[in-house]
């Protein structure tokens, strides 16, 4: 029988995968993908808790997380396009303009 802990552990594993991606990636577009992975992991945990405690609050929070992710992608991709027009690259090492 699948319990709440199963879902929470899968969610924790997916979140750690996203965390590894954030730590490892140097390309800004790939960093965005890694943040999407982390947001999805949290959504799984919310839906699982909502199901096993028979409470709708978890699903509500998952909806608002999806709305925030959508607006984050819209603004972030606009900023990425501006950066790419200016520097011709999305690599974080190329974008470092301050020496210190």
């Amino acid at each position: 029988m699948i319990g709440l802990s199963h879902y929470l552990i899968v969610s924790a594993l997916i979140f750690s995968i996203g965390l590894m991606g954030v730590l490892r990636r140097r390309n800004l577009l790939m960093l965005f993908f890694a943040t999407e992975v982390m947001l999805n992991a949290v959504n799984i945990a919310f839906a699982a808790i909502s199901h096993y405690y028979n409470d709708l609050t978890g699903q509500m929070f998952a909806f608002f997380i999806i709305a925030i992710a959508a607006s984050e992608v819209a603004v972030g991709l606009g900023l990425l396009i501006v950066l790419y027009k200016k520097y011709g690259s999305l690599d974080l090492d190329d974008l470092a303009s301050m020496k210190g």
């Binding site: 699948i2 552990i9 594993l13 390309n27 839906a47 909502s50 509500m60 909806f63 999806i66 999305l90």
Partner: protein, 187 residues
């Protein structure tokens, strides 16, 4: 039985696809595996009885966000492999593995169930979409409206940042002023 089979199948596939997303050097491969993983996550939501959330995940994440990423990929050179300096890869995997271990230990610990009461309980015999609608439009009406305004702001900023010459004013046309000035000079 079927739930267990679906759970293990989906979780193995999701973890594998997201590992491809993290490891791949090609943007197209990373994006495709991310989209496939999101479709399988909506399968999780359907298993958990959150039908409306699963549909929203399919429409918003797989439909809108992935389409936005694929449009943005046209601006960047997506066919070329990304060259990244991956310094200290072992340290990253160590930190990621440690955080995974800590999170799994936290979530595997027993929970004091009796103290948790449902704030907005689900109703028997009522569909998930109806239940969600009632709670969303009564208890969470203000956050819903604020989220709508936030999406509007995000849309305007997206158009403004990605569009060409959108930072210049439309009503105060500078070249038109120049034309008027030159006409005055000619007179």
């Amino acid at each position: 039985m079927y739930e267990a089979v679906a759970f293990y199948l989906f979780s193995v596939l999701i973890i594998g696809l997201f590992l491809i997303t993290i490891m791949s050097k090609n943007v197209l491969y990373a994006m495709t595996s991310l989209a496939a993983g999101m479709v399988l996550i909506s399968g999780f939501f359907f298993i958990l009885g959150a039908d409306f959330l699963g549909v929203v995940q399919l429409i918003v994440y797989v439909g809108a966000i992935m389409a936005l990423y694929s449009f943005a990929m046209m601006f960047f050179d997506a066919t070329r492999d990304i060259k990244e300096k991956t310094t200290n890869s072992a340290l990253v995997f160590l930190l990621g593995g440690l955080s995974a271990l800590v999170l799994v230990l936290i979530f595997a610990a027993p929970i004091h169930n009796e103290a948790i009461q449902a704030l907005y309980p689900m109703h028997e015999g009522v569909g998930n979409a109806q239940d969600v609608g009632i709670v969303l439009f009564t208890k969470y009406l203000v956050p819903f409206e604020v989220a709508a305004v936030m999406l509007l702001v995000a849309m305007i900023s997206g158009i403004l940042l990605a569009g060409k010459k959108m930072d210049l004013s439309l009503t105060e046309d500078l070249s038109a002023d120049d034309e008027i000035l030159t006409q005055k000079d000619e007179k």
